[in-house]
């Protein structure tokens, strides 16, 4: 699958294209198929996302998972500060990254 990601313009937070909007949760990400470039152009022009790009991923039982570790770290947060990730209460969340 292909995922569209970028950063929120105001906050800089990592965001994922859900098919209709942007979410900070990778679980909400949609497969953009071959439409990534077109969505990217429209969304960037509308300032709904900053520095967007398309990445490879796979659908897993837990939801979409980026193929590269860099994007998995972007999706969750720093592996060395679980308290600053999107799942601070889940001590095993980092396993998903590695």
């Amino acid at each position: 699958m292909k995922l569209l990601t970028g950063n929120d313009l105001k906050t800089g937070f990592v965001t994922w294209w859900t098919g209709a909007d942007w979410s900070i949760h990778i679980e909400d990400a949609a497969d953009v198929g071959e439409n990534g470039d077109a969505i990217l152009a429209v969304e960037e022009a509308a300032r709904r996302v900053n520095a967007p790009y398309i990445i490879a991923g796979e659908m897993t039982p837990d939801g979409p998972r980026p193929a590269h570790i860099k994007d998995r770290i972007r999706a969750l947060g720093p592996t060395v500060r679980p308290d600053l990730t999107l799942k601070p209460a889940d001590p095993t969340a980092g396993d998903w990254v590695i």
Binding site: G12, V14, R47, N50, A67, K70, R74, T79
Partner: protein, 543 residues
């Protein structure tokens, strides 16, 4: 320390106003990211993995308690309650919102700080010896010269768009605590025939093509310091490779030209630059230097220290250095607790260090390129009280220059350029060698980790260096041995095939075990490596 005059303050405030308007225009959609990116980078604002990252300049690593408290305030108010001290003696915040950036820069300007020239192809923050003004072995305080260079290089119209970024270090002691020869220009204030002058080393650096700067001129009269620096920059600006980012640093130019030809061109340029009158009158330098006057230290203060608390005594021996004035000492606060993140400090810790500086260290602190903090002017009689407060705050780890005093870049946990994580490796190594007795048995051992070839973690200069790479989508770690960023400068050599995250920790243990079996009396790790060479270590690592 240097205080802004009206011109300094006006320049910084004008920049805050300018950038505030640029942010407003970006948020309003009046400019695109492509247009905005170079503007935000000129103000130290990057877009990193999780958010915007702001890098704040700490000139030559020196700051006062008011400025340190502002750094804590920014961490608490705009970030996630911590900051990361860097190998360029700066501080970075990892969770900045674009809409907050103007307020942060205004807060910084209110305490004579900014984030200008912490990015971009310009002259970056001038770095220096973290013990400047206090070190027993310096011939003078190098910071007035660093400040002169800071003023000269700030907004320098000719050098705002260099072929590539440019880093300068200034020291004034034979012991190099600033990795001076691994800078684009390394300046050492030296003495010759009773006069002080500057030795210029040009063309050093780390990154993908590490080089040790050759000596270009052994003695430049200090009245010519700016002219000679300008000549060095002009030759680079004229001939530096703008066509290839990987060959654009001055080290490549000097390597290709040869040091002799580069020197000849600099001398020719210097003869011209000297006619332009850019060197300030001595009175202006004296005005700057007066602001670095030594604090009023009482040389008759008690020299004896009560060592009856064994934990205090361990810290005293490891983290406290000799001061040039009797009865005083230099405290090195380790930001490397076992299992912690090298260089990180919470806002409460930053505030505490500011309080200690104000109460005990004549209001001065230093950031070190090894990502620690220094209280430079402390009475020995106050050491125990300070240690108790540091210990309560988790800031009394007695590991300066030991294997757990690791330099590590933010790596793939934060940095968009990184290929591998640095911090978890540092944590695992520090944990493996957590026993202080074991660390002290190993002695001085500088371990440095970078998460990519850009070498922000100075891996080339580590007695043991680690470089994280991406091998087919998996983190892999190369091991280097024999580097040094000190006066015995050298570049590390890769041992062989790399390791995974746990494998690199095991490999380092095999290396240190080999060192213990090979060393002779008084030899540091790097001395043993230089004497016996790579072969025995390689055999220990790979069998």
């Amino acid at each position: 320390m240097y205080k802004y005059d009206e011109y300094d303050q006006a320049m910084v405030e004008a920049r805050v106003a300018e950038f505030s308007d640029q942010v407003r225009r970006r948020l309003a959609g009046e400019i695109t990211e492509d247009q905005f990116k170079p503007l935000r980078l000129m103000n130290g604002l990057y877009l990193q993995l999780h958010a915007y990252m702001l890098r704040v300049a700490v000139p030559y690593g020196t700051l006062d308690s008011r400025q340190m408290r502002m750094l804590a305030h920014i961490a608490r108010t705009y970030d996630r309650d911590y900051g990361h001290f860097t190998t360029r003696q700066n501080i970075q915040y990892n969770w900045i919102k674009l809409e907050d950036a103007p307020a942060i820069l205004a807060d910084l300007a209110s305490v004579e700080m900014h984030a200008i020239q912490t990015s971009g192809n310009c002259i970056r923050n001038i770095s220096s010896d973290q013990w400047a003004g206090a070190a027993a072995d310096e011939i003078t305080d190098p910071r007035p010269w660093a400040e002169l260079l800071r003023q000269w290089s700030s907004f320098h119209p000719e050098f705002s768009y260099l072929p590539r970024k440019f880093k300068i270090a200034v020291i004034a002691a034979d012991e190099d605590r600033a990795a001076m020869r691994l800078h684009d220009i390394g300046i050492q204030i030296v003495e010759k025939d009773g006069q002080h002058g500057a030795a210029f080393y040009v063309g050093g650096g780390m990154g993908r093509t590490p080089m040790i700067a050759p000596l270009i001129k052994d003695f430049v009269p200090l009245d010519d310091l700016l002219s000679y620096t300008e000549a060095c920059l002009r030759v680079y600006n004229r001939y530096g490779r703008r066509d290839n980012i990987y060959k654009a640093r001055i080290k490549i130019l000097i390597h290709e030209l040869g040091a002799d030809e580069y020197r000849r061109q600099v001398e020719e340029e210097f003869a011209h630059v000297k006619t332009l009158g850019i060197d300030p009158p001595r009175a202006e330098f004296d005005r700057i230097a007066a602001q670095f006057a030594p604090p009023p230290l009482d040389a008759s203060a008690p020299d004896a220290v009560d060592r009856s608390d064994p934990d205090f005594a361990v810290w005293l021996d490891q983290n406290v250095a000799a001061h040039k004035v009797p009865g005083h000492a230099i405290i090195n606060i380790s930001l490397k607790p076992v299992g912690g993140i090298p260089g990180d400090a919470s806002s409460a810790q930053i505030d505490l260090m500011a309080d200690l500086a104000e109460t005990y260290s004549h209001d001065e602190l230093r950031v070190t390129h090894a990502q620690n903090i220094v209280l430079p002017h402390v009475r020995k009689a106050d050491l125990y009280a300070i240690w108790q407060k540091l210990d309560e705050a988790g800031l009394a780890t007695p590991n300066l220059d030991l294997i757990s005093d690791i330099i590590a870049c933010p790596g793939l946990d934060y940095c968009s350029l990184a290929n591998a994580r640095s911090i978890p490796v540092a944590q695992k190594i520090a944990t493996r060698f957590a026993d202080l007795g074991r660390q002290k048995e190993l002695g001085e051992l500088k371990l440095k980790i970078s998460g990519c070839i850009n070498a922000c973690g100075h891996h080339h200069a580590g007695h043991i260096g680690i470089l994280g790479v991406d091998r087919k989508g998996t983190e892999n770690y190369q091991l280097l041995l024999g580097g040094s960023g000190a006066e015995d400068v050298s570049l590390g050599t890769i041992t062989g095939p790399g390791f995974d995250e746990d494998g690199i920790v095991d490999a380092i243990e095999r290396v240190t075990d080999k060192y213990l079996s090979e060393r002779t009396e008084g030899e540091r790790f790097v001395d043993t490596f230089r004497r016996v060479g790579m072969a025995p270590f390689k055999e220990a690592i790979y069998g």
